[in-house]
């Protein structure tokens, strides 16, 4: 009697219980499916948000790399960064080419790429620069810009009215090589839709190169030479066209097109170790008030502002997980009253309360595991499908690499919460089956 008997028939009972658990669950599949789906959705949401959070951050912090300093007129580092890299906002002043030339002569400086902003094409910012930009500007993990089609504009008078456009400009506007485009004055001249507002319509540009997508602001930018911007503004004074003094496009080539002032400059150093030295050199430059900004520091500063949103996102996803776990518990508890009869029958044919506890726990385990697994699968396949769109529309590069440790931690957290949520009703059923006597008092 007693335990010896148990040991002998334990396997048989376990097999019976497993069979009953399976068929009982199948019998309630219409309810259980929703429990699994709700857990799966919570897991998928957390999994995706965590990946988005991580990749947004890394996309953002890798908007520019391989640049040691951004130099411009003295303002705030974030402001200079936003304008020169993201082409958002403005800076109070430009910097003189004299300063650029002096900077280039510093013994620690390897290269200087001047940037000039102020015009736009159909809402896309126009960046005046030198062909060296395409050589030195890096993004992501020191990835260079790649031309999908065509070539960089020539640094000669022949190539004066040539433009290299970013991937998104090409896609949205449907431009191909050889397309003729006109620019308009001012960065904020948003999508006019017609050419009548293109104040630089007298000097059209030809698209000679289209860049591959990068997921950075480069995708949204039209690149032309510094001299081209100079040519556009030959007949302009103080931001307005010179009355009656139009200079035709060809005539412009005869003028001195070397700019005297630019917006900012990207600086690469021979050794990174010299960065503080050069930064100090820039900051104490006497001829004009300049500053040197380390991109990483400014991006970090910028992210700390955006990070508030990041935390809110995290809080919301946590709440979503909590809600779905609580609803799992509610569903299981609500189903318990119906199951009390089933459990009483099992008790009547010889199953003990511990078998009842085991039965419910078993169900909780596989329901939760199925939910979490399904959620991860949903999230991964969803992201795989959405990656091209995210890259193009939001410029976020989702990485289909191995799961992040934080993603795994979140999945495990959902798993544990789900188990706890299903153990609570199991424990209640166990107590009830002890207290109910032979038949449930429902």
């Amino acid at each position: 009697m007693g335990f010896a008997y148990f040991a002998k028939s334990g396997g048989e009972r376990m097999k019976t219980l497993l069979g009953i658990a399976r068929r009982s669950a199948w019998n309630r599949r219409s309810t259980l499916v929703w429990v699994v789906v709700s857990l799966a959705l919570a897991t998928a949401l957390l999994w995706t948000l965590e990946r988005l959070r991580h990749d947004t951050r890394s996309s953002f912090s890798q908007s520019v790399s391989g640049v040691d300093l951004i130099v411009g007129a003295r303002s705030s580092p974030v402001q200079l960064m936003l304008f020169s890299v993201f082409h958002i906002g403005s800076v109070p002043q430009g910097m003189s080419m004299d300063s650029v030339r002096m900077l280039a002569q510093h013994r620690s400086v390897s290269w200087v790429v001047p940037l000039s902003l102020g015009d736009s094409h159909r809402g896309f910012p126009v960046l005046g620069t030198t062909p060296a930009f395409f050589q030195h500007f890096k993004y992501g993990d020191k990835q260079a810009l790649v031309l999908r089609q065509g070539a960089v504009f020539a640094d000669t008078l022949d190539g004066l009215y040539e433009a290299v456009i970013g991937a998104e400009v090409a896609r949205k506007m449907g431009y191909n090589l050889g397309q003729s485009i006109t620019l308009s004055h001012g960065l904020n001249a948003h999508d006019h839709g017609d050419e009548s507002h293109d104040d630089h319509a007298d000097k059209p540009f030809k698209v000679v190169g289209i860049l591959a997508p990068t997921g950075t602001p480069v995708d949204r930018t039209v690149h032309v030479s510094l001299q081209a911007l100079e040519a556009l503004h030959l007949d302009w004074v103080a931001g307005t066209p010179l009355p009656g003094g139009q200079i035709p496009a060809d005539q412009a080539r005869k003028f001195n097109l070397e700019p005297e002032e630019i917006t900012a400059a990207l600086v690469g150093l021979k050794t990174r170790a010299a960065v503080f030295n050069v930064q100090r050199f820039v900051n104490f430059h006497e001829a004009e008030a300049l500053m040197g900004v380390m991109p990483g520091v400014a991006l970090g500063e910028l992210w700390s502002v955006l990070g508030v949103g990041e935390n809110a996102l995290l809080a919301v996803s946590g709440l979503v997980a909590l809600v779905s776990v609580v609803s799992l518990m509610a569903v299981v508890l609500a189903g318990l009253n119906e199951r009390r009869r089933e459990l009483a029958v099992l008790r009547a044919v010889g199953a003990g309360p511990r078998h009842v506890l085991g039965l419910l726990t078993l169900e909780g385990i596989w329901v939760t595991c199925a939910g979490v697994l399904l959620g991860v699968l949903m999230a991964q396949s969803g992201m795989a499908l959405a990656t091209p769109w995210l890259q193009q529309a939001l410029g976020i590069r989702l990485q289909m690499a191995a799961p992040l440790p934080t993603q795994l931690a979140l999945a495990v957290a959902v798993l544990l919460a789900g188990l706890l949520a299903s153990l609570a009703p199991a424990w209640r059923a166990y107590r009830l089956s002890l207290a109910d006597g032979l038949s449930p008092r429902v």
């Binding site: 335990f3 019976t16 068929r23 089933e342 029958v345 032979l438």
Partner: protein, 229 residues
């Protein structure tokens, strides 16, 4: 085979509806008709007999074994071996077939399985009892919830008889049936219990059936009065 020594049981300590019983004994193979007004403790007494409830004072013994002397796990095993139960309704696992429901006790009790083995195996024994309960053979492989309430009660009776447990407890097994069916059901159940040699304790409001039992217990008059049957 049932031996109750003066006992006291309360669902909550100090509650008004405390069950107090004097000495009660039932011999093996007797059929007992247990009746009384609602709430007088009939189901509680069944719980005490089945060892799912333990008295606060006194003791209940089955086959000479005091329920209170067993650990919970041992009580479950002892019950599985020696007690068959029929509820008022909802006796069956709806997702199992009729036959699977009937053979369930053999899966939890190796003693009852062995007894069935001696009589041709659980399947054969189950079919035999189902036939005795006059359940059409066409229904045996159907899902249990495809049956009418009356048919389900007969399946439950067949299950309680599997492996000939020494004690069968029936808690108002006919209350969900109409009058004509009650007569038949009680007849089948009583005959089967006698053939199996099982003691039957049946709670019922249907006092017309009382005369068919060996012993009649009116619970209110039992309180504190010893009875030997």
């Amino acid at each position: 085979m049932i031996d109750i020594e003066p006992l006291r049981f309360a669902w909550t300590p100090g509650a008004a509806n405390t069950l107090v019983l004097g000495r009660l004994q039932v011999a093996q193979g007797q059929t007992v008709f247990l009746h009384g007004p609602s709430g007088c403790g009939k189901s509680t007494l069944l719980g005490l007999l089945a060892g799912v409830l333990l008295p606060d004072q006194g003791r209940v013994a089955l086959l000479g074994q005091d329920w209170g002397a067993l650990k919970p796990g041992q009580r479950d095993a002892f019950r599985a071996d020696h007690v068959g139960v029929i509820f008022q309704q909802f006796n069956l696992l709806p997702y199992l077939s009729v036959l699977d429901n009937v053979t369930l006790p053999c899966r939890f009790s190796s003693m009852r399985r062995q007894r069935c083995q001696a009589a041709g195996g659980p399947e054969a024994v189950a079919q035999n009892w189902l036939r005795r309960m006059d359940l059409p053979q066409a229904l045996w492989t159907r899902r249990a919830d495809a049956l009418s309430v009356g048919q389900q009660q007969r399946v439950a009776a067949a299950r309680a008889l599997m492996g000939q447990p020494e004690l069968i407890l029936a808690d108002e097994p006919t209350s969900a049936l109409d009058a004509a069916l009650r007569q038949d059901f009680m007849g089948w159940l009583l005959q089967a219990a006698r053939d199996a040699g099982s003691t039957l304790v049946c709670v019922s409001h249907d006092e017309q059936q009382a005369v068919r039992f060996d012993v009649q217990w009116a619970l209110p008059t039992l309180q504190k009065v010893g009875v030997s049957a």
